[in-house]
């Protein structure tokens, strides 16, 4: 079983529009933008990973905090996708994250992200009890996404530590601060994204050379798989066995919705790892899953044949070792 933790779930709301005003600052009157189409689905990085895995037939349980009417909608969608849900209910309302996608500029969406409800200490305690129990049944645990108010930056470090004690492989798919903290507990697999924050585990990661050094540093600290996204179509994989470049030869114009693509990447890697693939093959599949997801309007591409087709577009280049 693969356990996923989404501490700050979201209802992802997408609007597709023909055209956005060139500059919102210049407008003096109210703006009405008519959406050609809209869609919504349960989200948050961990939930996206679970949805992908469940669709591929992998037993997966999603955990985190749900609140209010939005929480009910998220739960309903999660259950409908075949994911087992084990959430803690809190007061307030889960966040809604809005993405506006303009025709012809699909790779530059406009996003509005809410903060999410604060999590009280009592709910954290309840979560930890559930988490410890679920670890007994898990093979991997994915700790993914933003931390809601009330959760300390070092929370993922604690969760990775508990996973290690239980013999469960920890996967951290989160932003700068939470990831840096979590790395101290030696997760098995991390997926930093240096496009947003040019740093991995406290080391600068602006150039390819810096990225590789930061990846090697993470591996020295005990990470087994360090997969670093450094541009839309390229990742660098660093493991104890070597360093590889992965490049997707797909023009940006083919992308329709980039939200969720990096979650498909993590989910794709895990899916193939539990199937018994090598790390390199698993990462190739993960990257294909990310491309396939970016090429469709729904957040995730859940058609295995389409993902396998995309594997032809993924070029792997060995830099060191292997």
């Amino acid at each position: 079983m693969i356990l996923t933790v989404t501490l700050n779930p979201t209802l992802d709301k997408f609007y597709w529009v023909d055209r956005l005003p060139l500059s919102l600052e210049r407008v003096e009157e109210e703006i009405l933008i008519r959406a050609k189409k809209s869609a919504s689905s349960a989200g948050g990085k961990g939930i996206n990973v679970s949805i992908f895995l469940a669709c591929m037939g992998v037993d997966t349980v999603a955990m985190g905090f749900l609140a209010g009417h939005t929480g009910q909608i998220i739960l309903r969608d999660v259950l409908a996708r075949g994911v087992t849900a084990n959430f803690v209910w809190i007061e307030g309302e889960n966040r809604t994250n809005v993405t506006i996608i303009e025709r012809g500029k699909e790779y530059h969406p406009v996003k509005i992200h809410e903060e999410g409800p604060p999590v009280p200490a009592r709910a954290v305690e309840m979560f930890l009890r559930k988490y410890r129990r679920m670890l007994k049944r898990a093979e991997y645990v994915v700790l993914a996404g933003a931390l809601p108010p009330g959760i300390p930056t070092g929370f993922y470090r604690e969760l990775v530590g508990l996973a290690n004690e239980a013999g469960v492989r920890g996967v951290v798919h989160a932003g700068l601060g939470p990831l840096r903290e979590a790395m101290q507990a030696k997760p098995y697999f991390i997926k930093p994204d240096v496009r947003e924050e040019a740093e991995v585990g406290g080391l600068p990661a602006r150039t390819e050379e810096e990225i590789i050094q930061a990846g090697k540093h993470a591996v020295k600290q005990g990470v087994e798989i360090c997969l670093i996204s450094h541009h839309v179509t390229g990742d660098i994989l660093v493991t104890p066995q070597g360093v590889w470049d992965l490049e997707a030869r797909v023009p940006l114009s083919r992308y329709k919705n980039l939200v969720g693509a990096d979650d498909a990447l993590v989910a794709g890697v895990l899916y193939r790892l539990v199937e018994g693939d090598s790390v390199l093959d698993a990462v190739r599949f993960g990257m294909a899953a990310a491309i396939a997801s970016a090429e469709v309007e729904p957040k995730l591409c859940l058609v295995k044949a389409a993902i396998e087709q995309e594997m032809q577009q993924v070029v792997v280049h060995r830099r060191e070792g292997g």
């Binding site: 749900l66 929480g71 259950l79 087992t84 849900a85 209910w89 309840m126 009890r129 129990r133």
Partner: protein, 144 residues
């Protein structure tokens, strides 16, 4: 159709030492009228429902509600619930849990729901771990 094909994979539950106030809070937030009670291993050991809580607070109150001519004051119920708030759910849960297994057939599940006048049934695996819940509506939805 088997239980695992019908069930909601919702593991909303409480533990033996969860206070009654927390149980009521979770029921209110989640919209569930009953919750499975699990031990530290995740094994199903009890069930707590709104009905169990009302009955525990005021024995005979539910029976009184059946009579339209006499509706007792809520003050007593409220006072008693407040007294129970910090007590563990294990004190009020039912331990004679009726559950089905993942491989049980729909006919057997319907029979269990009807015979025992239940709104929902927990589903457990071979080790007794909670793996889901089947509500009457889940069964009806699939039958229609």
């Amino acid at each position: 159709m088997k239980a695992h094909e019908i069930m909601r994979r919702d593991l909303s539950s409480v533990e033996l030492d969860t206070p009654v106030s927390e149980v009521i809070y979770i029921m209110e937030q989640s919209g569930l009228s009953s919750l499975p009670v699990l031990d530290e291993e995740g094994v199903l050991v009890g069930i707590i429902s709104e009905r169990d809580l009302i009955r525990a607070a005021l024995p005979g109150y539910l029976e009184m509600l059946h009579s339209a001519s006499f509706l007792p004051s809520l003050n007593q119920l409220s006072k008693r619930l407040k007294e129970m708030a910090a007590e563990p759910v294990s004190k009020y849960m039912r331990t004679d849990v009726i559950a089905v297994r993942q491989e049980d057939e729909d006919l057997q599940i319907a029979d269990t729901l009807i015979r025992n006048e239940l709104k929902q049934l927990p589903v457990v695996d071979d080790k007794g771990h909670l793996v889901g819940v089947i509500r009457r509506i889940d069964l009806l939805y699939r039958l229609v």
